[in-house]
Subunit: 275 residues, 2 copies
Amino acid sequence: MNRDAPIGVFDSGIGGLTVVREIMARMPYEKMVYLGDTARVPYGVRAPETVRRYALEGARFLLERDIKLLVVACNTVSAVGLSEITAITSIPVLGVIEPGARTACKTTRAGKVGVIGTEATVRSGAYAAAIGREAPGIEVKSKSCPLFVPLVEEGWLEGEVPVMVAAKYLTGLKDWGMDTLVLGCTHYPLLKKMLNNVMGTDMRLIDSAHETALEVESLLRASGMLLADPSDNRGRGTLELCVTDSPEKFAEVGGRFLGSSMDNIKKVELEAYKG
Amino acid sequence: MNRDAPIGVFDSGIGGLTVVREIMARMPYEKMVYLGDTARVPYGVRAPETVRRYALEGARFLLERDIKLLVVACNTVSAVGLSEITAITSIPVLGVIEPGARTACKTTRAGKVGVIGTEATVRSGAYAAAIGREAPGIEVKSKSCPLFVPLVEEGWLEGEVPVMVAAKYLTGLKDWGMDTLVLGCTHYPLLKKMLNNVMGTDMRLIDSAHETALEVESLLRASGMLLADPSDNRGRGTLELCVTDSPEKFAEVGGRFLGSSMDNIKKVELEAYKG
């Protein structure tokens, strides 16, 4: 493994850019290569076996780039396909479920954690399982929120509609008495402000993207693979973006997720990576 | 071409079942084979070249079944990929745009027609072009409504949230003075009741699924290919359903579109149809 090699970030589409953004903010000297399978997004509504098939193709594509670490930024893939990906490589593979689950366990005082995500993520029970391994006494309730992703992609991050949708999805969880809510989908951090208003400031929102970036940093540091110094990598990180649908569409919405504009977006085919 | 051959119906996912339903209601003796590309739905957010690539695979799959007519039930495919499909076959290929556009022209008194659909359908300008060919004097305004499909799939067909979303999307069109609104996406007929409430009973809603079924009937009748009699096809039609993602998920939501429960759902692969 090569310390100068890029970090690979895989996502079903555009949401994983929230993870990229957090990694860039903490580790500005790293090179990154991102793959968003925008021609087949969303994964969260599909059957687990379909998600696994798509995820393996994406993972093989990134592994061929000689990455030093593979971050699976997509909650759905992390929930249903992480072990399949881990099985085809010897480099570390990091999903977004464990970091979010661990932080939720440290955060809750009521011992009641809510988890929201796509249908596939919720149905998998992956967050509940991860929280159960970490702190068996903590109760977990999950709720899929299928309208949140389209709301974010439409750019309706605040106002009546998202507030009403959020209330409809989350009133049950709030009444149950949770004090911590895991945002188990990479799109959801963009709804944080609105969710804070709806849930009240006492509710702690756990952003998996942020927690995952912290874990990437500590993993690279522990293995001596972190580029931590301005002299590393000639003083600047890079970001190469690969997508399976048109780059134009990705650029249009992606800025909202990355918090800055993007160039260097390439369209790629995954045909050759069916394994 | 064989009169006893099935009608092929292609859709990106589940919405095309509204077309199937209308065909079954009018032509109960026909055999039908449906393909929903549920592993890659939705098409409406993707680039036209990606939609065309997927659509050709689906069309080739159905053409191999020796169908007598291919109905492209998906508005997005009808808008951006119909001529590509027509080019690979000698059987008639019928999209949903022309029938809806023609009826809209006959319906409007104000000479102002609104069209709603997916982003790809609206961006293509296909309805405006079809209406322009039919009746050049009619003005057309289009609006993409990306949240309508997830609302339908979530089953939120009435109530505060869809009403508010519809008002947000459609107030501009209403104020403009249209008296006819084309539901340019197969999911939208399920929102008809709610849209009637929001738009008022004076607004005429054009259901492309219904109009397309009428056109299928007259096309088959004109070419002597219609099974119009109980003695045809041993007195009953059949429906074979093929999907690319799991049949379970399709069965779950599909009943809402078809208006009846479904069996005989097969999972198929389109790998071999890349052409």
